[in-house]
């Protein structure tokens, strides 16, 4: 109580000091909640990617940007490698054709952009860490489902206002929503799962080169063997080559699971050694390391904000407390004359600094939460909340702000504690 009264003595100065802490803690809360959301999203990805051996066409990167394909023959051969349980081919493709006037579009947005995930329902591949996805409504795709069935993530459902049973158009093709996945706070929220065949067809349709190959192949298929026999050798070769194009070879990603008792790293290395000219292999461990790197950078930014808040806040508190102590030298003298120990004096001033930190932290955190909630509410209509508000984190912010106050208060408080009673008394 005395602490609050002492703070109230110099209202404006206390207000300015607290305001400094408020700004720092506001930034910390907002940035921290954003980082938590980002980390949760990344962590979900990490869980997924460390539960499988990821295979990509050579020349691509795990962050996307692939021009190559994974031919089905190669994938079948990979499936024969010792320790490989199963390989599933996949297609990844943006949900919408990029707008020519805005080619960057949603790919630069915060989080995972809406993506079509073509999955090989026939494969016995299973992700070790992500066996099933909880369904909010309907059911997941199953082996034997027709090509027009899709399952969508919660963000897609909110953003597009799609419901189970709805017939929807994706890239000009009609699909039926049979399930909506529960919110995962990570990749699947923005995914549209569909059988691989329609995904391949959409992919080919979106790629002028593949589209042309497919057309040539379709045209070549119409030419009978008898007609082919009458053609020149050169034309015949061209047509045979066109005929060799197979839609099943159009796979942008693949995932392999390993058999029980095998080490995933050893299996991944085996695939790498045998197919190094055809595919890129990322082992669970390697994927984990890569993802951790991304998290470290983001977390470093947040830590930087916290550090700035710490430094600015601390100096502001130190300044206030030094002034406060020099104004209250007389009081320190009285208290010492009454029998207060140096420790009692130090504790009093440290606690006062701690309360300044705590108040600033509580107000800053409150404003930060309010901002995050309001922005989330706005973004929720698009299913793209960017803040994750966690009680643990908020408690940390409060403890952190109190600790800043205490730490900043230590130096001035020690000065007060060391003040010689007789010197302070002489000021009376």
């Amino acid at each position: 109580m005395e602490i609050l009264r002492n703070m109230w003595r110099r209202k404006f100065r206390t207000f300015l000091t607290i305001f400094g802490i408020v700004i720092g803690m506001f930034a910390f809360t907002v940035m921290g909640s954003m980082a938590l959301n980002f980390n949760k999203m990344i962590d979900g990805g990490k869980r997924f990617f460390t539960g499988q051996i990821s295979i990509m066409p050579k020349g691509s990167s795990y962050m996307g940007g692939s021009g190559g394909m994974l031919p089905v023959d190669t994938l079948n051969k990979i499936a024969q490698v010792e320790g490989v349980e199963a390989v599933a081919a996949g297609i990844e493709l943006p949900m919408e054709e990029p707008n020519p006037d805005d080619p960057i579009g949603s790919s630069m947005s915060f989080g995972v952009p809406p993506t079509i995930e073509g999955t090989d329902l026939g494969s016995s591949y299973r992700n070790r860490n992500w066996v099933t996805l909880d369904m909010k409504e309907g059911r997941m795709l199953e082996k034997g489902d027709s090509d027009d069935k899709i399952v969508i993530g919660s963000t897609i459902a909110l953003d597009k206002n799609w419901h189970v049973g709805d017939k929807v158009k994706i890239r000009g093709r009609e699909f039926k929503v049979i399930g909506i996945i529960n919110k995962t706070m990570t990749g699947p929220d923005s995914y549209i799962f569909m059988p691989i065949q329609p995904a391949r067809e959409l992919y080919i349709e979106s790629n002028p080169f593949l589209k042309s190959l497919k057309e040539q192949s379709d045209n070549a298929a119409k030419i009978s063997d008898a007609a082919l026999a009458t053609m020149s050798l050169e034309t015949r070769d061209q047509i045979l080559q066109a005929k060799s194009f197979k839609t099943e070879d159009v796979n942008t990603v693949a995932s392999a699971s390993w058999e029980e008792g095998f080490d995933s790293e050893v299996v991944a290395n085996r695939i790498k050694d045998q197919f190094k000219d055809e595919v890129l292999v990322l082992s669970p461990q390697k994927m984990g390391e890569e993802i951790d790197k991304a998290m470290v950078i983001f977390n470093a930014i947040i830590l930087g904000v916290a550090l700035i808040a710490l430094v600015v806040g601390s100096f502001s508190i130190i300044n206030t407390m030094v002034m406060s102590i020099s104004e209250r030298t007389k009081e320190i003298g009285i208290k010492k004359a009454l029998g207060a120990s140096g420790w009692a004096i130090a504790r009093e001033y440290t606690l006062e600094a701690g309360v300044i930190g705590l108040l600033g932290g509580a107000i800053g955190m409150g404003l930060g939460v309010l901002t995050a909630v309001l922005l989330n509410h706005r973004m929720a209509q698009k299913g793209a909340e960017i803040f994750l508000i966690q009680t643990n984190f908020l408690v940390t912010v409060i403890i952190f702000s109190f600790a800043i106050g205490i730490i900043a208060g230590i130096i001035p408080a020690m000065r007060a504690a060391k003040m010689k009673a007789v010197d302070a008394i002489r000021e009376l």
Binding site: E2, K330, I334, A337, G339, S341, V422
Partner: protein, 224 residues
């Protein structure tokens, strides 16, 4: 009778600059017995306040021996001194020196806190003392809402809450009018008489000095 203060050959000097050293106390002897009502008198700069600070353990003598209530405090470290100050010594200052943010009751209780009294105990004691001082209806007032006399009575209650062996008063009537000064002196005498409290009062005021049973004269840092 029990000796509360025994000081022998007390010396204290202050170095103002390399060449200017002020000898504030020079071989001062002092003895105060339990129940004494003593005054330290002398002209300005004679060392009265320095002696009072040394007796109150706010400062230490450079030389000489000093015992308070039988404890040798001549070289006592601050870590021990504050405990002794809290329990055995009560201070009354010239300018009252109450904590401005605290009420009358809280000011008195604060000293009890440093003296190790539990909250309930110090509250009861503080209320009793304030009642004895005739301030029952002023307990929740802050110093700036009280008259000089009332503030000094609160300061006296604060000095008494830990039932100290010794009460040191530095010009306790210095900022009071003559009528209020007399009231305060009467109050000090009452506590001396009724509760056998030991008082050492530094004063310029002849009336206050006359009210004391024993007078210690100082001149130029020596016993006069």
């Amino acid at each position: 009778m029990k000796i509360i203060i025994s000081g022998k050959n007390l010396k204290k000097s202050y170095k103002m600059s390399k060449t200017n050293i002020i000898q504030a106390l020079n071989n001062v002897d002092i003895e105060v017995k339990e129940g004494d009502f003593s005054a330290i008198v002398g002209p300005s700069g004679c060392g009265k306040s320095t002696l009072l600070h040394i007796l109150g353990l706010l400062d230490r003598p450079d030389e000489g021996t000093l015992t308070i209530d039988g404890i040798d405090v001549s070289k006592m470290k601050e870590k021990q001194a504050h405990k002794l100050r809290a329990k055995k010594i009560g201070f009354v200052f010239q300018g009252f020196n109450l904590i401005p943010t605290l009420t009358a009751l809280e000011n008195v209780m604060l000293a009890g806190k440093y003296g190790g009294l539990k909250f309930k105990e110090r509250k009861v004691k503080a209320l009793n003392l304030l009642e004895k001082m005739g301030l029952k209806d002023r307990v929740n007032h802050k110093p700036n809402e009280l008259s000089g006399g009332e503030q000094q009575r609160i300061a006296l209650a604060r000095a008494l809450i830990n039932e100290p062996s010794l009460i040191l008063a530095d010009e306790p009537t210095g900022e009071l009018d003559s009528k209020t000064s007399l009231e305060i002196i009467e109050m000090l005498k009452r506590f001396n008489r009724d509760e056998n409290r030991t008082f050492v009062i530094v004063t310029h005021n002849d009336e206050v000095a006359r009210a004391c049973k024993k007078i210690i004269h100082l001149r130029d840092g020596k016993n006069a």
